[in-house]
């Protein structure tokens, strides 16, 4: 009786099994080993021709389950970071009130508008400037950063530090842009990874 496990790799030409006696356990294992080696070689050779996740595997895996797991993990990290940001803003408001200052409502509204539309898994450092505006800062140990002061009226003042791939050079950019366009500034400097990787 032929074991059904032989069909695990639907991309393997049936001919490969013809030189093995798959009615025995040893023959079957040899056939599978050979099939896996050949499948891996084919994936390496045609890496640029991959059309589906199933091309990448010879194991029993469900690509949609992997994707769902990844998305679930990102969603959980995002939620955790989002809630931490919320708690930080709440603390800043309490501290500001205690010291006779206040957080600009327009600035806070713009910060939330930004956080609500971006996927981030690291919470930003959030500080209160002396003008009442909130500033969000993502930074890493490489000296890179995304610094965004939410000025209200859908305007953002930014300071971006981005390390270039070819050495020690760090590009530095500062200026103002609209809330709607600030994501493009971040992308132009390839810094979104500070928020989401």
């Amino acid at each position: 009786m032929l074991p059904t496990v032989v069909t695990i790799d639907t991309h393997t030409p049936p001919a490969i099994y013809q030189s093995y006696d798959i009615s025995s356990e040893d023959g079957l294992q040899d056939a599978l080993r050979r099939a896996n080696i050949e499948a891996a070689a084919r994936v390496r050779q045609s890496a640029d021709e991959i059309r589906s996740l199933s091309d990448l595997t010879t194991r029993y895996t469900d690509p949609s389950a992997d994707l769902a797991k990844k998305q679930d993990s990102v969603a959980r990290q995002h939620l955790k970071a989002f809630n931490a940001a919320k708690a930080r803003i709440s603390d800043l408001k309490v501290d500001a009130r205690a010291e006779g200052h206040q957080v600009s409502a327009a600035s806070e509204s713009d910060l939330w508008a930004f956080l609500n539309t971006k996927v981030f898994i690291h919470r930003p450092y959030i500080t209160l400037l002396d003008n009442g505006n909130l500033r969000a800062l993502w930074k890493n140990s490489e000296g890179e950063q995304i610094g965004l002061q939410f000025r209200g009226s859908k305007e953002v003042q930014y300071v971006l530090f981005a390390r270039r791939q070819n050495g020690d050079f760090i590009a530095r950019a500062s200026g103002r842009d609209t809330l709607a366009n600030i994501g493009r500034q971040i992308d132009a400097h390839e810094l979104r990874r500070l928020m989401a990787e």
Binding site: D95, T127, L128, L129, D130, L137, Q157, V159, S174
Partner: protein, 155 residues
């Protein structure tokens, strides 16, 4: 003497309020650039304290700054130590206009019940938070932090 430049080898202390300080995942304080830029009342010259003005060990110098402070330190505030030359160099090298900042002596005379503060100093040519260059300068100064001390002992 008032107006004299403090040399690059020396160190300065800046009081940074709690709203500019965050906490890293490992619990260490993260001093952000907003704590170093000028407020409108500073006229582009925020206040610092010159540590080498006092003799003694570093902790003693910091304590003298605390003793003579004219601002009320917040419970979450910190005193941050910087090297003058490192700050000047980092700003000059990383701003489009090769911004030249200086740190000058600005001793305060005794006033009412407040004793004189010979360590008071000013950092010049520092833009404020409403200027994108100001935030850039603040972030560049934040990269130069050497030590962080509690502003209030016991906090």
């Amino acid at each position: 003497m008032k107006g004299d430049c403090i040399v690059d080898e020396d160190h300065i202390l800046r009081y940074v309020g709690g709203s500019h300080i965050e906490t890293a995942q490992d619990g260490t304080p993260v001093i952000t650039g907003g704590g170093f830029i000028a407020k409108p009342k500073d006229d582009n010259k925020p206040s610092y304290n010159w540590l080498e003005c006092f003799t003694g060990a570093l902790d003693d110098q910091v304590q003298k700054v605390r003793d003579l402070a004219r601002v009320t330190y917040g419970s979450k505030g910190k005193l941050v130590r910087l090297n003058v030359g490192r700050v000047r160099c980092n700003i000059a090298e990383n701003t489009d206009d090769n911004r030249a900042i200086t740190v000058i002596e600005d001793p305060l005379d005794a006033e009412d019940d407040k004793p004189a503060d010979p360590s008071h100093a000013l950092m010049t040519n520092v833009p404020d938070e409403n200027d994108p260059q100001g935030e850039l300068v603040g972030d560049l100064i934040a990269q130069c932090v050497l030590n962080v001390f509690p502003a209030k002992i016991g906090s």
